[in-house]
């Protein structure tokens, strides 16, 4: 399985080429009945050690793109989690509720987040996602400078 790499400073963030990517830094892996989503290495690197995850919507409900569906917390950071697409949210990864550190340990495998049935075709290829990251990364660095004046 090939992968692409994006340099976050000195940190190498890897992105498997076997799947697509959403703008909210989730990967999307299409299966026979549904599409599985998880956090990309970029998002995981920003979060660092995840220790808490909760969902604010129930499995088996319809969600809209960018609708808040839960929250995640690490030692240093916290974030809302948003739906990566319009569709039917069929399942959450129950294993993560017991041990969210799987997100850090195996973010592209056992640390997956949720499954959806979606017709969304706006996901990015790995190459497109890398270009997206280049733009986002610049923004992040500009934000650092803005904040260091704060």
């Amino acid at each position: 399985m090939g992968q692409l790499t994006f340099m976050m400073g000195k940190h190498e963030a890897h992105f498997p080429a076997d799947r697509q990517y959403a703008r909210n830094h989730m990967w999307a892996l299409a299966g026979p009945a549904s599409t599985r989503f998880g956090l990309t290495a970029y998002a995981v690197r920003l979060l660092l050690d995840v220790y808490f995850l909760e969902w604010s919507v129930a499995a088996g409900s319809r969600v809209a793109l960018r609708q808040p569906i839960g929250s995640i917390e690490s030692k240093k950071a916290e974030s809302e989690l948003y739906a990566p697409a319009d569709g039917y949210l069929s399942r959450f990864n129950e294993q993560l509720l017991d041990d969210p550190s799987l997100i850090n340990a195996d973010g592209y495998g056992e640390g997956w987040l949720l499954e959806m049935q979606t017709d969304d075709s706006s996901f990015m290829s790995p190459q497109q996602y890398l270009r997206h990251l280049e733009a986002v990364w610049k923004v992040a660095q500009q934000t650092i400078k803005g904040q260091s004046h704060a």
Partner: protein, 329 residues
């Protein structure tokens, strides 16, 4: 005979006319009252260790009142860093969200603790009360201190909780009532102040700081060893601190300045990065940007040539160093 309560007036920075007017009104009113020993010093945060104003503060052995343009929490720990120890006023602590009380702080404090059982009453001049209000509050404090002094069971460091005119020294033997103001211009300082009631000695700040500001005492407790090595304007170690125990009293963000109630540890909010909306950088003072400098610092870049020897995360922190260098702080 009961001594006079010491009242220290810490002047605002820069001599703003409105602040000067408040200070002058207060000093005049307190001196006219006659029951207080009024002392005027530069802004307490700018007081250099070993200087005249520092000596004046250290000469006070009993309860005193500090009137300053800082919140009680920042004022109290700034004084502690000057080795001017004492319990905080319970009423002031309650109203300011300072839950530290005194015993915890005394146990955790890493500096010598003469007079640790006396009470220091820090009153915030920014609250904008009238001079009359402040004078009445100080009269109340003086009255309470006198009561404690008369009570046989009162615990006392010294013979008197007030300036000890009855025990040999007299107010006239105290240093001049103005200190550190008449010589060279007061230099504005910038350095972290540790709230030891919250500090867990985790060393994140020492690991993080690249300027050698932090050090350890003989018991390996963190302390601000080289305050003037701090980079003016940089509050990054405060953001790194998991317990919000590091204050920069002159920072405009209440939480960093020690004005906001010290509650949950600081968390970086990544929501704007994770909502897929491609948020733009925010440098115009509008809502809080999505990532804090301390966060992105952990993403790494080339290390500079020379850096202090701290454990862990060295390479990860150098990006912030570079960014701060470029930021023209």
């Amino acid at each position: 005979m009961v001594g006079r309560l010491a009242v220290v007036v810490s002047l605002g920075r820069g001599g703003h006319p409105a602040k000067r007017a408040v200070e002058e009104t207060l000093v005049t009113a307190l001196r006219a009252d006659g029951r207080f020993h009024v002392m005027v010093i530069p802004h307490v945060y700018d007081v250099p260790v070993g200087g005249e104003a520092h000596a004046l503060l250290q000469s006070i052995s009993d309860d005193f009142v500090l009137l300053c343009w800082l919140g009680p929490r920042a004022a109290r720990w700034t004084l502690a860093q000057l080795h001017v120890q004492g319990r905080s006023d319970p009423a002031a602590a309650e109203s300011s969200g300072d839950e530290s009380g005194s015993s915890t702080a005394a146990q955790r404090s890493v500096v010598p603790q003469p007079h640790a059982s006396r009470t220091i009453h820090c009153l915030d001049l920014r609250a904008g009360h009238s001079a009359k209000h402040y004078v009445e509050e100080i009269e109340r404090i003086a009255s309470e201190s006198e009561d404690r002094n008369r009570a046989p069971s009162a615990s006392q460091d010294q013979a008197s909780p007030l300036i000890p005119s009855a025990t040999g020294a007299s107010p006239s033997t105290l240093p001049d009532t103005r200190a550190g103001l008449d010589g060279e211009a007061v230099v504005r300082r910038w350095y972290p102040v540790i709230d030891y009631s919250r500090c867990t000695n985790c060393m994140e700040c020492a690991d993080f700081c690249l300027f050698g500001v932090y050090g350890l005492d003989h018991q390996e407790n963190i302390l601000v060893e080289q305050p003037d090595n701090c980079r003016p304007g940089c509050p990054a170690c405060s953001r790194v601190c998991p317990e919000n125990a590091i204050l920069f009293p002159q920072h405009k963000t209440p939480q960093i300045a020690g004005d906001a109630p010290a509650t949950a540890p600081w968390k970086i909010d990544l929501s704007q990065l994770f909502d897929g909306s491609d948020s733009r950088p925010n440098t115009n003072g509008e809502p809080e940007p999505p990532v804090h400098a301390s966060d992105l610092s952990s993403l790494g870049d080339e290390p500079p040539a020379a850096r202090p020897q701290h454990r862990g995360r060295k390479d990860e922190l150098d990006r912030l160093m570079d960014e701060l260098d470029e930021a023209d702080l």
